[in-house]
C-alpha cells in the first residue's frame, strides 16, 4: 500500500494476516477489511480466541499433540486402545485420522520428518522418548502413519530401527486407490501398489 492511506494499525494487521498459510497480500487485505467491518461478531471474538490460545495452548509432553491440558485429551482418554500407537508427522495428521474416526488409539507426533537436505535430524524430532514410551505403556503395535513421501519413508525406516530391539509389531498404512478415486488419474506407483496388495473380492 502507498504511504498514508490507512493507519499503521491496519498495515500491521494486514502484514500479519498475510503470513497465514492460504492468505496472500491481496486476500489478507480483504480479510482485514472483513474483520474491521465485522468488529463485534468477528474481530473481537478472534482477538479474544487468539489471546486465549496464546495463554492456554501447550504441547502435550506425552505425545506432542497441542491442547490446553497436559497430558492432552487424547492421551487422557481411557476408552482408547493403549496397545496401539500411531506415529504421525504433524498434529494436522493426527486431526485428520481423528476426523476420519479411523482408529481408537494413542498417537505420537514427530513434529516433522527426517530431512538431511533441510538439516533436520533425529534430534529435531520427538523421537528420544519414543522407545521408553512404547515400553512403559505396553504398546503392542506401532502404526507408521507417515506421508508416502521420500522424507516420510526415510523417517519410517528410522523409527523401525529405533524400535527394532523391542517386542512390538510395526505396521504401516496401506497403499492403494483412494476411495472415490479414478484409476485414470492415479500415478503409476499407486496403481502398481494397488495391484500388488490386491485383495479377495
Amino acid at each position: 500500500m502507498a504511504e498514508r492511506i490507512a493507519g499503521p494499525e491496519i498495515e500491521r494487521l494486514i502484514q500479519l494476516l498475510a503470513r497465514l498459510p492460504g492468505l496472500g497480500p491481496r486476500s489478507a487485505r480483504r480479510a482485514a477489511l472483513h474483520l474491521i467491518r465485522k468488529r463485534e461478531e468477528l474481530l473481537g471474538p478472534l482477538a479474544d480466541a487468539l489471546q486465549l490460545a496464546r495463554e492456554r495452548i501447550i504441547t502435550c509432553s506425552v505425545c506432542g499433540n497441542v491442547d490446553s491440558c497436559d497430558p492432552c485429551m487424547v492421551c487422557r482418554d481411557e476408552r482408547r486402545d493403549g496397545k496401539l500407537l500411531v506415529i504421525v508427522e504433524t498434529v494436522a495428521d493426527l486431526w485428520a485420522l481423528e476426523r476420519a474416526k479411523a482408529i481408537s488409539a494413542r498417537y505420537h507426533v514427530l513434529g516433522g520428518t527426517l530431512s538431511p537436505l533441510d538439516g533436520i535430524g533425529p534430534k529435531d524430532l520427538n523421537l528420544a522418548r519414543l522407545p521408553d514410551r512404547v515400553v512403559a505403556e505396553g504398546v503392542e503395535e506401532v502404526i507408521l502413519a507417515v506421508n508416502a513421501t521420500v522424507d516420510g519413508q526415510t523417517t519410517a525406516h528410522f523409527v523401525t530401527e529405533l524400535l527394532g530391539h523391542l517386542p512390538v509389531r510395526i505396521t504401516r498404512l496401506a497403499h492403494g486407490v483412494p476411495v472415490g478415486g479414478e484409476l485414470d488419474y492415479l500415478d503409476e506407483g499407486t496403481l502398481a501398489a494397488a495391484i500388488r496388495s490386491r485383495m479377495d473380492f
Copy 2:
C-alpha cells in the same frame, strides 16, 4: 472435528478463522496449527494487532474510509486536490486506487451498492451527506469509480441524479482493454466499449 480431539480453545479459533474470506474449514485448521506453532512470532503479535484494531480503528465521518483517526489520513492530506472527489463502493476500492497511485484526490466511500433485490436502498449507503459535502468542499468534479456491474451502474445513475442540481462535473472511469490484457480473452461488451472509445495513436 470429532469430539475430544483438541480443547475448546483450538476449536473456537478454527471456527473463527474459517469465517475469514479466503479460508475454508481445512485452511482454517492449517492456519490455527501454523499460529500455534509460531506462537511468539505470529500468534501473539496477531492477537495484539487485532486487539489494537478493535480499540482504535474507526470509520471516517467525512469519507467513510477506515483509519485510527477521524477525519482519516486521506481526508487530512492537504496535498490532495480537494476539487476532485472519487466515489467508490468500498474501502477496498479506495485502497486499490491508492495503490495504483491513480489520482491524488479525496474519496467518498458508499459502503456498497444499491441493490433492490438484496433490500439495499439509498438509506443503507453513505449518500445522505454527499450533496452537502460536494458544496461545502467546493468539489468541481465527481468521479464515479464504481464497479462496472449492474448494481454499480444503478448506483452511479442514482448518484448522478442526487447531484444533478449542483454545478459539478460528473465523470466515470473509462471502459476498455485492461493494460496487459489479451483481446482474445475479453468479453464482447468490453471490446465494443474499447472500439467506441478508441483514441488517436
